[in-house]
């Protein structure tokens, strides 16, 4: 069981990392679609964790992801409307969507401590890959100044979420053994 769980997480981590081709130079409409999808994927995982986890701190973290990523998407959507940019689906956003659905399907099969650890492990991998994407692909390629500024503004939230998830991972590890 432990092997299966570990393998799943590893596969998801690889999928998350490969979702961001470093050589690609996305356009602003593509960046908009990537940002909105990335946030939505984490909102969906948060909703599942909030309803399924029994641990108060994991539930609180999940609620935080729902609220914060909804906040980011609200700002992103408002900006996109203001700039008359139409988010354009692309390989990266589709891959993210797919990865998010796979994550939810895998999480649904787990319960209790195994669920909590898999959810938090994936949150760490997800936030790491988003930060990397922001730094290497999204921020450098954003053409519109306001879109670029928004990406810069959301970055610290992803860093704080990653730190928070790592703290939870450490405390779950202790509780689990």
């Amino acid at each position: 069981m432990k092997f299966i769980y570990t393998a799943t997480v590893a596969a998801l981590a690889v999928a998350a990392a490969s979702a961001w081709p470093q050589s690609a130079a996305p356009t602003d409409p593509q960046i908009a679609a990537i940002v909105v999808t990335a946030n939505q994927v984490d909102i969906d995982a948060g909703k599942l964790a909030k309803s399924k986890s029994a641990a108060t701190d994991v539930k609180e973290f999940a609620q935080r992801m729902i609220t914060d990523h909804s906040g980011v998407n609200k700002s992103a959507t408002e900006l996109v409307h203001k700039l008359h940019v139409k988010p354009e689906s692309n390989a990266t956003s589709q891959s993210l969507q797919q990865g998010g659905e796979q994550n939810i399907a895998a999480l649904k099969k787990l319960n209790d401590g195994a669920f909590d650890r898999a959810y938090i492990d994936h949150e760490i991998a997800y936030h790491q890959s988003v930060i990397e994407a922001l730094d290497k692909t999204l921020i450098p390629n954003a053409q519109n100044a306001e879109l670029k500024a928004l990406l810069v503004k959301v970055r610290p939230a992803f860093v704080a979420h990653l730190e928070h998830a790592k703290q939870l991972q450490a405390s779950l590890g202790k509780a689990g053994e």
Partner: protein, 123 residues
Amino acid sequence: MISFSRTGGWQLMVRVCAMALVGLLLTSGAVPATPNANAAPKTHVVTIENMRFSPDALTVQRGDRVVWINKDLFAHTATAVGKAFDSHNIEPNASWTYVARNPGEYDYVCALHPTMKARLTVL
């Protein structure tokens, strides 16, 4: 000549009265109800942006106001570790004002984002 002198005397009277009145006001103000009554309370601003409190260490005088302004994209709180003060949720573009009445050193966090930490010192 005489009329000029009279006018000068009248002006002097007015001036003396005015000075006496100012003196009276100053005297009444010089008897403070509290040690800080002479110094007008100041207002300090802590900006919450990019998942940080800025400044993250602030020292104020007792009676001063501290205003936390949230410029981030989601809600934050300013919550003292010992719950001496708690803003509860400050929504984006909203603010919360606290009058620092009790001296002490207060470590505070965002209750929603535990990685956000800062300190308020009240002298």
